[in-house]
């Protein structure tokens, strides 16, 4: 019965690794804890220069403490503390993005054109789908005007249907609106941008809804073209649509292309795992879609203000073509390789 009997001995120090470890490093951990708490509460600017320089060193030493503690210590509280400390420090050191201004600059200088170049195939496909939609819509309505009512909802037609007279159609192209121009522009922008984001997100369903949206967009354009062309207003209508359409349609095509990229990456991941393929496609697609929103804000201004004040066909053509050329040069002009590396 004496096997387990405990006897008291004097203050003989029992040292476990955790105690030794705490004694050696606790001051460092506390300092790191204090620094990280300060950044979390305010920002990294709250640190002095010395603290800033010390931060990565303290972080690495805490990480190595964590590794050693996991292997040699059985003190669970110590390991839990080090885990949360390292995690918080990690987020402050690696997780914090650069300043908003630098992110914006990076987006316009590098990320956006790079994403557009990466998406060229999908962009081409979306463009061809739009063209196909326009052709089909045009031919259908030209051959049988009743198709128009099947394609365009009444609310959108606003009287611009095959039964309208050439005079009333002409007036819709050259009507001079003076009031609420900026409001109109803002409405167009938010409405179109929401659709662009939507068509990007819909790409997730194996691109089917995105493709439908793109083709339908083309169909509507083709149907309107047929109505105006049948009254001899084809060129005028093209100018009316072109002033903002080169930008707006391009943006819709781009957001559709971003959706197509996601859907195809999920359906056909190739050599990568499905998750990795989706992720890479998501990054490229989201960047291009954010760009499309920027384009749509420009298109909104052109449509809401430019088109209502510029009534000359030639000027409308010139602005539309210049915008298109500008976008194409910005996106696809070859750059030095390192300039686009994201």
């Amino acid at each position: 019965m004496t096997a387990g009997t405990s006897a008291f001995v004097g203050a003989q120090p029992i040292l476990v690794n955790a105690s030794r470890f705490r004694a050696a490093h606790e001051a460092e951990w506390q300092r790191l804890d204090a620094l990280v708490s300060r950044i979390e509460k305010r920002s990294v600017k709250a640190l002095s220069e010395d603290d800033l320089l010390a931060l990565p060193l303290l972080y690495r030493s805490a990480l190595s403490s964590l590794s050693v503690a996991r292997e040699t210590s059985l003190d669970r509280a110590l390991i839990a503390y080090l885990e949360q400390l390292c995690t918080r420090a990690y987020f402050q050191i690696y997780g914090v993005p650069t300043s908003a201004l630098r992110q914006l600059r990076r987006f316009f200088v590098r990320s956006w054109p790079a994403a557009m170049q990466a998406l060229w195939r999908e962009t081409l496909v979306a463009f061809l789908l739009t063209v196909a939609g326009v052709l089909v819509g045009y031919l259908l309505v030209r051959n049988d005007p009743s198709w128009f009512y099947g394609i365009i909802p009444d609310a959108m037609a606003q009287g611009r249907d095959p039964s309208a007279s050439a005079e009333s159609l002409r007036s819709t192209l050259y009507a001079k609106h003076q009031d609420m121009l900026a409001t109109f522009a803002a409405f167009l922008f938010t409405h179109n941008a929401q659709i662009a984001i939507f068509s990007f997100a819909l790409g997730f369903a194996f691109t089917v809804p995105t493709v439908l949206l793109i083709v339908y967009n083309g169909l509507m354009l083709g149907a309107f073209m047929a109505v105006f062309a049948s009254k001899g207003l084809g060129a005028a209508f093209t100018g009316w649509i072109m002033i903002h359409g080169t930008t707006e349609l391009f943006a819709i095509i781009v957001s559709g292309a971003a959706g197509i990229r996601i859907g195809t990456a999920i359906a056909f991941p190739g050599r990568e795992s499905r998750g990795d393929a989706a992720m890479r496609a998501g990054h490229v697609g989201a960047t291009a879609m954010a760009g499309a929103v920027v384009m749509l804000s420009v298109a909104g201004l052109l449509e809401g203000i430019g088109r209502q004040t510029i009534l000359d066909d030639m000027a409308r053509y010139a602005i539309g073509l210049a915008m298109l050329a500008g976008w194409l040069v910005y996106f696809y002009l070859p750059r030095r390789h390192d300039a686009l590396a994201v």
Partner: protein, 293 residues
Amino acid sequence: MRWPFSRKPAGPRPPKTLRRSFVTPEGVDLQLELGGAGARAGAFMLDALAMIVILVVVTIVILLLLTKSSADVLAILWMIGFFALRNGWFALFEMGGRGATPGKRLMGLRVVARDGARLTGGAVIARNAMREIEIFLPLSFLGAQTADGTADGFLTIFALCWSGIFLFFPLFNRDKLRIGDLIAGTWVVRSVSGTLGSDLVAHADRPRRVFSEAALGLYGVFELQTLEDVLRNGRSDAIATVAWKIRDKAGIPDDGDDYGFLSDYYAALCARLERGLLVGKRRENKFATSQAA
């Protein structure tokens, strides 16, 4: 049952707990804990509530300020503001240093990139653009139904099921990924913070009990850490029960000081098991074969 075209999983499947390995560039695994579905839904509700409150307040203010001359500007402000709120609230907050919207912060969550790299703007935009089909699509179906009630019943059921797939997607995968997380390569993890618990072995300025090898050979790491929890919680009934159990097993007479006994036993057991660790012997629990001292 294996479906004909499902490939075998490439690696070991992730465990069913919410702990995930997350390797820093320094090569240390931080073992992050994923946010639960409930916490995430709560965070979303808080954010949605905040957005609605802001929208209502701003709309009321704009209506109060409304005059003939300023209608134009106010209408533009409202439209752009609504757009920015709907699409920018989540993205802008998550792009900031905290990696979390106010709702997520309140629920103790944050967004991180799964690969351990910096969270990029593209990832944040991607994960939030997907809300269009996760939240607004189902909502707009419901809204359209209540608005006209004319749509074909079958079509509505189909549409609801289809959008429900997106809405409840996080419940059907182990990592609790939204579609947005899937596309963006992100995780939502719990952001924990805590203080360092006191050292249970320190303060050796009093006489300590000594235990025989047989008494110390009873337990392994699992029991040691359970004992640590008991000591840190400090509940007297738990301490009494555990002390009685250990004394009973080891055949040690009761000396009336349960807490002192347990902390001495903890220190001695901890030192013994750590000596084992140094020579590469880790005894997981009491069922593992007892090692030679």
